[in-house]
Point group: D2
Chain length 425, copies 4
Amino acid sequence: MQASQSASPPIPDRSALADRYLSTRGRSVDLCSPLALEDYGVQPMPDASPPKWHLAHTSWFFETFILSEHVEGYQPFHPAFETLFNSYYNGVGKPFPRVRRGMLSRPTVAEIVDYRQFVDEHLLLTLPELSDELAARVLLGLHHEQQHQELLLTDIKYNLGNNPLRPAYNSKLPDPAGGTLALERIAFDGGLIEVGCAGGEFAFDNEFPCHQQFLAPYSLANRLTTNAEFQAFIDDGGYQTASLWLSEAWDWVGRESINAPLYWADDGSEYRLGGSGARVANAPACHLSFFEADAFARWAGARLPTEAEWEHAAQTTAIEGRFASLAPDDPLHPQGVSCVPAQEKLAQLFGDVWEWTQTAYGPYPGYQAAAGALGEYNGKFMSSQRVLKGGSVATPPGHIRCSYRNFFYPADRWQFSGIRLAFDR
Amino acid sequence: MQASQSASPPIPDRSALADRYLSTRGRSVDLCSPLALEDYGVQPMPDASPPKWHLAHTSWFFETFILSEHVEGYQPFHPAFETLFNSYYNGVGKPFPRVRRGMLSRPTVAEIVDYRQFVDEHLLLTLPELSDELAARVLLGLHHEQQHQELLLTDIKYNLGNNPLRPAYNSKLPDPAGGTLALERIAFDGGLIEVGCAGGEFAFDNEFPCHQQFLAPYSLANRLTTNAEFQAFIDDGGYQTASLWLSEAWDWVGRESINAPLYWADDGSEYRLGGSGARVANAPACHLSFFEADAFARWAGARLPTEAEWEHAAQTTAIEGRFASLAPDDPLHPQGVSCVPAQEKLAQLFGDVWEWTQTAYGPYPGYQAAAGALGEYNGKFMSSQRVLKGGSVATPPGHIRCSYRNFFYPADRWQFSGIRLAFDR
Amino acid sequence: MQASQSASPPIPDRSALADRYLSTRGRSVDLCSPLALEDYGVQPMPDASPPKWHLAHTSWFFETFILSEHVEGYQPFHPAFETLFNSYYNGVGKPFPRVRRGMLSRPTVAEIVDYRQFVDEHLLLTLPELSDELAARVLLGLHHEQQHQELLLTDIKYNLGNNPLRPAYNSKLPDPAGGTLALERIAFDGGLIEVGCAGGEFAFDNEFPCHQQFLAPYSLANRLTTNAEFQAFIDDGGYQTASLWLSEAWDWVGRESINAPLYWADDGSEYRLGGSGARVANAPACHLSFFEADAFARWAGARLPTEAEWEHAAQTTAIEGRFASLAPDDPLHPQGVSCVPAQEKLAQLFGDVWEWTQTAYGPYPGYQAAAGALGEYNGKFMSSQRVLKGGSVATPPGHIRCSYRNFFYPADRWQFSGIRLAFDR
Amino acid sequence: MQASQSASPPIPDRSALADRYLSTRGRSVDLCSPLALEDYGVQPMPDASPPKWHLAHTSWFFETFILSEHVEGYQPFHPAFETLFNSYYNGVGKPFPRVRRGMLSRPTVAEIVDYRQFVDEHLLLTLPELSDELAARVLLGLHHEQQHQELLLTDIKYNLGNNPLRPAYNSKLPDPAGGTLALERIAFDGGLIEVGCAGGEFAFDNEFPCHQQFLAPYSLANRLTTNAEFQAFIDDGGYQTASLWLSEAWDWVGRESINAPLYWADDGSEYRLGGSGARVANAPACHLSFFEADAFARWAGARLPTEAEWEHAAQTTAIEGRFASLAPDDPLHPQGVSCVPAQEKLAQLFGDVWEWTQTAYGPYPGYQAAAGALGEYNGKFMSSQRVLKGGSVATPPGHIRCSYRNFFYPADRWQFSGIRLAFDR
């Protein structure tokens, strides 16, 4: 959550907050509307939660941290939900085991929809009277819900894309476009720069405090690595060449028999939310693990950027991209580009794929987690993960910013994650 | 399947077979009617398949072994179903991994209902023209479906009974009755006896050939072990006394922290298909593993019967019991008894709980599995399992007989399985 | 241990018992004499204990069950040894974890030799005054030690045979001979026969009581299955043909990538205690699991014998064989035969390889385990294992008899275990 | 290995190098001299290799990277050793599985001593004629051997300290002393500082290149955290308080039932290389994982230092400490201190315990691994590990420096690893 450290986020007025609450909450339900009822309950791997769990957990967040804690006389919708839909907050009690989320046929989807409405009604009723601190907490809950909106799309994709029938999430989605932009290195001077959130807008606690870092000169690729470029790595035996891989990565490749990005099939097709289709050569490679991104970069004679390099390069770039718009012409898949936007140095920084950095996810100097259970939001995961930047096509519009720090384990690849090369100079 | 060895089963005439087909197939769907749609897809442990998988697999059986193999011009409902709903027949190809059955949100329940109707229409169309051999195979398919009807109930119970909300399968089911019958030992002389199926009725291949065994004199308990008796074992520290347990069993108790029958709660209640309710002291203890049954018998100064002892004792007993009748007054749970039925020696032989025997499941002398993939039906499981006899409250009426051989691994306890004590004399 | 049930074993007079004690105890040490000191401590898999552990545990047996329990004033050699060298007797306390036996560099071999001498001195001192019951227990301890002598050889073989350097246990051992005996089926009428030990000699508790069984007519192969015959199974794709294997077996073959008997190398050689050498075509195939024996028999159109069939056939056969003689001309490996011994029906019944039966290891009717911790000797392992008969080249002379019941898990194959085919007739 | 990047290390003249070779190689053997022969072969956990493996692998390093690669006509001591004693260099072939190192009773210790002598003779013979590049590689091999000397001590300690008999490595070692120095915070201004090796001395490739980092002002504790301070954390329920732990750490605490530092016993004693003895209240706490160090720091209202903070603070400090001297008065265990050395700001920086930093182990900007298999030395482990600084009582004298980067996984605690607190200011 936002820290009190350097700068307070602006608290929206209560009426604007209520509007935002309604639209954000509604969008979660809308994202699920193409699903069959059966799709709401499946957990195809421990990390990919069932859609109905996401719908319940995001409601749990408002119920637990606002209604139950702070609204006098509030009676929870169901006494068992505090445990059932607690994701990982030990301060709230012992969460229901994550690996068993897909074994809960009850509550039904209809009951969870009722739960959402119950929470929404009570929240909206109390919203005008909430203190600034609690209103800020509502805002945090909406950003939290947006994070789960991205997970809804990636978890649904993992379920459907691993089903032998390969059903589309929405068969009307268009195919992604290709592009013609040639790869170039864009130089940055580095020096003493600032990273992190300076305040003035909402940000999570892990983006604070804004602080200085020193960077040597470096270059970044002007665009993302494409499917064609990644195919060249494969064709060159990349997955069979131990010297390209970190030791942990090489173990992972052997143990899991990894030989292509997730969702790539042997026949040249890939699974997209629109269904199976031919891979687009100049579209960005995605669904790559850090391990694969790192090996590809080594093969290419390059490296992955550090978080600070990426953030510094992005600080002057407008945040535009192909976020999960739910518009009928959005393929919900990254597309190629043919030019760098005017006034920008780099293409595809925001809203295409999450870009792996080499930076291990850790606290900024002076980082303070929030007090109480909400302090578990981000801080306790600062171990063994890597930072990703820039958002993806599954990220909700308005959710991303330069200082945003996403983090996943190095073998994770069910997010829309890809590669921007970096170079010393 | 039935063997050609000693005696051919009677082939029902085609019209009677069609009636039987319709009623058996319909009963599978009826068993699921109390479910929420969400309940059809859940696999709460690897051994407990989703209800919709059972509905599909039983159709797959008729499609694979009759329609696809023997009906000219038949086009399968869906090309992927041959693999998706193959349980374990390596002769049919590589089955979809059992542990992932609960991760298939597609095909939907509606699609599987369509699949059932498609298979039914084609099967009924071809039935009048089938050879005797194939008509016998249809009969086998119906007995196969009855086995899955029992699994439907036990798998549904496992799912709902392990859900923290403990929803009832059918909340209108009555509570089980108790009973007052005192425990007695009923003596049998043994000698050279016959076990197995002598023919004249349907039986699975593993019940053939009928053959002689020699038995020393023995006694059996006149009724099943009750909840109260099993509670006395617990109160005496049974689960903490190594000397009562087989070595494998003791490891299991420690590893799985077992300290009570499945579905027993600390507050004296148990989960039944009708929901949670107080345990009935004189109702049969059930949902016990072989390991627990064997330890209890040792604690009681007794032992478990051999299969031959049980079968010999049952050969003169009428097959009456509390099978899964779907009648509104059937609790779908074993009940106590107050007397031994007239003309019988033993109470509760059929249709209460499956009774663990000490006999390892293996082939009878001269056993021959069927040719082809159907030979995988029973024979390949003759390793590390124990025989159970007598059927349970979840067994379909008409499905049980003296020679019937059920088999499960010694730690399995999600079936309605219990204890009848035996004694040397 | 021997049961009091049907007949008491003869108690040797104390002087003969002392002689036997000395020779048996000495033989354990002699078996280890070819080893390097480093070989005494290695545990190459959980089931294969380090030689020094065997040397200590067999001493622990006498110390625990005679000296500590029954000799007034006896002070154990070391207080920690009661736990360290307890194999599996929960009645004596919590055994040191089996899987960590190879991680005990201390006590050293020299300390264990001291332990043996300490126990021997005290045992021999007290022996003349022991009651008949305790003298019988000493006899049991010597049979126990003989069992560990066989394990010493097989565990040493497993260690050295899996070491990449393939060092010989004793490089002077001769190669095994071949043979010319053609395979024939020898018919037995069956009927009401007796199995188990009738008394008059030492036997373990699991061989009692002697009892009747009824057998249908059957045939047994006149000799063991040879390497050449097993090679034909392999050449015919036996390891790749699912229909030949039990379901558990097929899982094992795939999971462990099994494609030949243990110790067979791709170049036609095998590892023997004398070192690597060319396989002898007509010598018995050995180091086979039950799973492999069962699959081979199915491929050969035969089956494995039941324990009762084997025992009945062997009851008129003299117990002669190639037991672990430690004579310089003993290859410590099974050899081929060219004729059936005069007055016998079957060759190679005793002292070649342990012959897998299809019989699950379980209690005989009326079986009673001994009281106290010694009751854990045999009875608690009557689960998921199969009976083997006849002894092997690693069995000490004088240790085997018709009623002897060895037992191992169906995937175990580091013993000298092989195949004698059986047939219905 | 040292990089050519910024500065070449001084190549010792050949005669000095030969002297250094002899003394370093001899020291490895000397470290093992207190062992029983049985202790050389044991691998008590996958990460702790047998002493004889260390003795062989360090010889393998010289044989593989100098003799076999660069000396014409050199015949390896044994053809199997290239694989057997390859630790993790995929460029040299497929290493023998790490987890099975303790299952190799052969080669014997005597054979490995012969191997060492064979390698030494050939290396010393060729040394005068080696190119500067290969002489630098010999120097690298000696630093490599010193790293294994530390592992010898910690692996031996793990073996003996987990043996139920708790034998001493050397029972004559004195007990560690306590100390009286009060805890203080020493302030540093930070700013633009330099980290990494500037050249002029030997350093590993991961210490290059020397580069700038920007640090905010910070403080470090003037001494290490003591046993008494860590005991207060335990007494305050530290191991039971989820909010103090990273998420991965909390899982580890629960899964492994961690409730005290490694080697601490419930009776107030600890195992040291000198045997079990009372814990010394003011001696440094050691054998702590990163997870424990991080939780302790959070409990103490502090944090762990970053690598750059530690290195900057240490740059003006003389490298003196209690390294593994093998002198009779060295307890081979960290001791307390009563004052900060004159001219220093901080006590116990070098040679007491490795100090966990919060810094994830990764490449310095511009890092280049060596070409060929030697490039696997350090670079491929830059994933999921944390940096430790300063050396320990088990580090060989002369092996440590400010820029030295040790790295272990966050749950590892069999090294002499401890805590220096850091603070924002």
